[in-house]
């Protein structure tokens, strides 16, 4: 019950983690099924329809329901602590964001049980996803599920932007923020400006499908290419939304475990901003073969290549953070160090794809699949693993087991390269992506086999991680406040896990790497910026959950054209908004005596 009403960012972080992990399992299972189907030519493990459903749900689930929430898990768990705040700017919205995401994801995955699964790819290109060629309810699940989950993400973006602008501890200027905070800030900005585009695209597709509108119906003057534009104007920023937080994690982990200040902090900040800015200007590189004409192709080629420059700055800054450091190998730092070369491999294939005429060959082939798994799995997922192992003690008060952690890393790392390295060549040899099977003797057979083996290894790696979590949760909660001993930022100044109010007294920040600076001056804790006093906390509320359930119900109403159901759902949601607006939340105070107790417990 406590968990259903919580507005505490730390608990919401854990909720995001649980839900994200669950969906990662689902998406991973789908990936395994995909790989089993492709293990040999003309396999009939799953049918063509099912295969298309699997890839669609795999891509959608992984990106929107696994990767994004796990990023939000880290954001929630860490950002308020890193900036020295007691909570996010809008605790209520934070809970609402989680629940809408969760119910959106649930709606999407219920499609498996309803027997109507979206099957037009995670990009849902029309007309294949339009009412004529996808007449069942499959794509409706995609549209409504993502719409609802998207609201949650947007709320999260607004929330973290406001939090980072307004809630920083005294003395923490923008240029003293930890790198992870910076990347989350920029990610939030990108979420705020990219997700509304998806919202509009989904609304248009929904209107086409449910109300006979003609946005994408070519027969009535609509344009299928419009969907491609709208999707990718959102879609490309989305991939940087995914990777920037990972960049942030790597920055923290690399600098902690090499005991060195992050090399070139200000150029890192600048590079992050530049990547975000350019990220909005390059979407048409997914559409080189659409027929936009040579001028557009040339411009978008060059714009895309430019992103390599700020990204390179980051890579070399990490390498030179390690340079001259004292590198300690933990699971977390292994993942971070594995990230660097792996991501570079994915990044450079990205630049190869940016060469438009060559992309006429690569596009929609396995080369692209290899590229994006290198940047997403080799980048983002490695980053997530690094971050989770790094902040686990802070989130749960227990250190993950290092031995099992090493197993996780090595199986996952080896499995990953085994799976995806060969896919580059599959693409170059002429294997299109999204094929449910392939004829024998085209030179695809062996490499597909290798690739499938690799996928199983990755599965073993993930299972090792799950075992690790279970084993660890049986251990006592004894993690120190600064368990890696070389922590540099504010989250390591408070107990693991932190008390409900995070900081008994808000800390005074006197420079970049605030905690490290104090440690180097021989201090054992931060200088407080305020006297001890009662702490104001927001009250828990069930409304976010109920509101999301309302949307969930309304989603079904829309889909099955039951006006009453839609109405009931919307009434629940709007009713909750009304309640929220009319009854002010005055919160409660934690008195000084209780704070003492909290620390002891």
């Amino acid at each position: 019950m406590d968990w259903l009403t919580t507005v505490d960012h730390k608990k919401i972080g854990i909720l995001y983690l649980i839900a994200g992990a669950l969906f990662f399992g689902v998406g991973g299972l789908e990936a395994i099924l995909i790989r089993i189907q492709l293990i040999k030519p003309m396999n009939d493990f799953v049918g063509a329809d099912t295969f298309n459903e699997l890839i669609t749900m795999h891509g959608t689930t992984m990106i929107f329901l696994a990767a994004m929430p796990m990023l939000f898990a880290l954001m929630n768990a860490v950002i308020p602590l890193q900036i020295g705040a007691r909570d996010v700017a809008f605790p209520f919205l934070n809970a609402l964001g989680f629940w809408t995401f969760f119910f959106g994801g649930l709606l999407l995955n219920i499609s498996w049980f309803a027997g109507n699964v979206p099957d037009a790819g995670w990009t849902s290109y029309v007309p294949l996803a339009g009412p004529t060629y996808a007449s069942g309810h499959g794509v409706d699940y995609y549209v409504l599920g993502l719409q609802i989950a998207g609201i949650g993400t947007l709320l999260g973006g607004v929330n973290f932007m406001a939090t980072i602008i307004n809630m920083r501890a005294p003395g923490m200027s923008f240029m003293r923020m930890p790198m992870f905070t910076w990347t989350i800030f920029i990610t939030s900005v990108m979420i705020v400006f990219a997700f509304p585009v998806l919202t509009v695209g989904l609304v248009a597709l929904m209107f086409d499908r449910l109300f006979q509108a003609n946005f994408f119906e070519t027969a009535s003057g609509g344009s299928a290419i419009l969907w491609e534009h709208v999707f990718w104007v959102f879609g490309h920023p989305e991939v940087y939304i995914l990777i920037l937080p990972a960049f942030g994690v790597i920055s923290e982990v690399v600098s902690t475990f090499s005991r060195k200040r992050l090399f070139g902090y200000s150029s890192m900040v600048f590079a992050t901003v530049l990547i975000a800015f350019l990220g909005f200007m390059v979407w048409a590189h997914h559409m080189f073969t659409t027929g936009l004409g040579p001028v557009a192709n040339a411009l978008f080629s060059i714009a895309t290549m430019l992103i390599a420059v700020p990204t390179g700055v980051k890579i070399f800054n990490w390498l030179f953070t390690l340079w001259g450091g004292s590198i300690r190998f933990t699971t977390s730092s292994l993942f971070a160090i594995g990230f660097i070369p792996t991501f570079v491999m994915g990044g450079v294939t990205g630049v190869m794809l940016a060469v438009a005429p060559a992309d006429y060959q690569y596009h929609d082939s396995y080369f692209v699949v290899a590229h994006f798994h290198y940047v997403i799995v080799g980048g983002l997922v490695f980053g997530l693993f690094a971050g989770l192992h790094y902040w686990w003690p802070k989130m749960f008060g227990r250190m993950l087991n290092e031995k099992i952690g090493q197993v996780t890393f090595w199986t996952f790392f080896v499995g990953f390269h085994l799976t995806f390295f060969v896919q580059h060549f599959l693409g170059l040899l002429g294997m299109p992506r999204r094929v449910w099977t392939y004829l024998p003797d085209q030179g695809f057979d062996n490499m597909n086999f290798i690739s499938t083996i690799g996928a199983f290894l990755m599965g073993i790696g993930t299972i090792a991680m799950i075992i690790n979590v279970i084993v660890t949760s049986a251990k006592p909660r004894n993690a120190l406040a600064d368990p890696w001993e070389d922590g540099r930022s504010l989250e390591w100044t408070i107990p693991s896990p932190p008390p409900e109010y995070n900081f008994k007294q808000l800390p005074l920040v006197r420079g970049y790497d605030a905690w490290w600076k104090e440690k180097m001056e021989g201090k054992t804790e931060m200088t407080p910026a305020e006297p001890v006093g009662p702490i104001h906390m927001p009250s828990p509320s069930i409304l976010p959950l109920v509101m999301s359930i309302g949307l969930f119900i309304a989603g079904f109403g829309f889909m099955y054209d039951k006006l009453i159901v839609t109405f009931v759902g919307m009434a629940i949601t709007l009713g909750c908004m009304l309640l929220r607006s009319v009854f002010d939340d005055h919160g409660f105070h934690i008195e000084v005596e209780e704070q003492e107790k909290g620390v002891q417990a």
Binding site: D49, N52, F263, A298, D359
Partner: protein, 342 residues
């Protein structure tokens, strides 16, 4: 135990892969084995970019390994390394060098983008082909000659072929990897592109945009022949359609098949592949190879249950059509023998 078996199986596979890679794949399919100037140009860009990328990757790997080996923490080491803020000289170096590398890559990219965008649709010397993607087959129309064929594109060597690519239902993409890159087949608008086939041969074509369940099986062939042979082919295509000799069978064929398909000039603008000379094509349905199984058997397999060969195909089964086994055999035999001499 199990692990070892895996390894044992993997070893020859890895070795095999190496061999394969050095061969760069099938000559009629691989992009790494270009068989025409368009693919060649794209391959050149690929080689240039791979070169640059290899350089970048090697530099990063080298620094990475050096750092990992040189700067690992010894047990119990409590020293604090020097805290470096940054280094402007280095930072400028790793900003400028990538920019230079990208310039080297960017200039030929732009040149090629414009080069490959040349429009030959008004060129008298080019062969015009209208490509129309259907779920799950390809239609090729030669407006200059007034002929239409399906699944097997026939072109003369040495000439520019100007394609006008579009789709009749959902988005597809027209791709002959060994000859040149792909272009999307959109509904309502058409895309122009050109290809050249200097060598004779049959090249494998693919659909490269998810278009439904049988997207994977939407293969086609591009057959390049010399000019004389091409002319003979055009003439044969234009010749009056050859109908089954047996009048009864001809009637069945007309009623059952020609309501959607076409042969010769009859029923042009049909909603299903044109069957003129289907017996001399390399495959049935783009994927049933006639050199592996006799044409007649392939035809029978296809007509009997098209959905079993291509899930989601729109052609009805023999049963739905009410074809008796006898009629089916007759039609298959007739079509198998419907060959064009060229």
């Amino acid at each position: 135990m199990k692990r070892w078996r895996f390894a044992k199986r993997l070893l020859p596979l890895v070795a095999g892969m190496m061999l394969l890679l050095s061969g760069c794949g099938r000559a009629d399919l691989s992009t790494l084995n270009p068989q025409g100037p368009v693919a060649q140009e794209q391959y050149n860009l690929m080689k240039l970019s791979i070169g640059i990328m290899a350089l970048v990757v090697i530099v990063v790997f080298a620094i990475c390994f050096y750092v990992l080996i040189r700067f690992r923490r010894r047990k119990g080491d409590k020293t604090i390394p020097k805290q470096v803020e940054g280094n402007h000289k280095l930072e400028i170096i790793w900003t400028v060098i990538p920019i230079i590398l990208l310039l080297i890559l960017g200039v030929p990219t732009i040149n090629t983008v414009f080069g490959l965008a040349k429009d030959y649709s008004d060129d008298k010397n080019a062969i015009q082909v209208k490509v129309i993607g259907h779920q799950y087959w390809w239609e090729f129309e030669y407006p200059e000659y007034g002929i239409t064929t399906a699944q097997e594109l026939v072109v003369p060597t040495g000439k520019k072929i100007a394609f006008d690519v579009s789709s009749a239902d959902v988005t597809h993409a027209f791709w002959i990897p060994a000859i040149g890159g792909k272009t999307d087949a959109n509904v309502g608008v058409s895309n122009k592109m050109y290809l050249e086939f200097p060598n004779e041969g049959v090249f494998r074509g693919k659909c490269a945009e998810l278009c439904g369940p049988s997207h994977a099986l939407m293969d086609f062939k591009a057959k390049a022949v010399d000019q004389a042979s091409f002319d003979r082919w055009v003439a044969a295509m234009k010749a009056p359609a050859q109908m089954p000799e047996d009048a009864e069978l001809a009637k069945t064929f007309e009623n059952m098949c020609l309501s959607c398909h076409a042969v010769g000039e009859t029923n042009s603008g049909a909603s299903a592949p044109n069957l003129t000379g289907v017996g001399s094509r390399q495959t049935i349905g783009g994927i049933l190879y006639n050199d592996e199984t006799p044409v007649e058997d392939n035809l029978k397999e296809w007509i009997k249950d098209p959905l079993a060969v291509k899930p989601g195909a729109t052609m009805p089964t023999a049963e739905d059509l009410g074809l008796t086994d006898e009629q089916l055999d007759g039609i298959a035999k007739y079509l198998a023998n419907y060959k064009l001499d060229y």
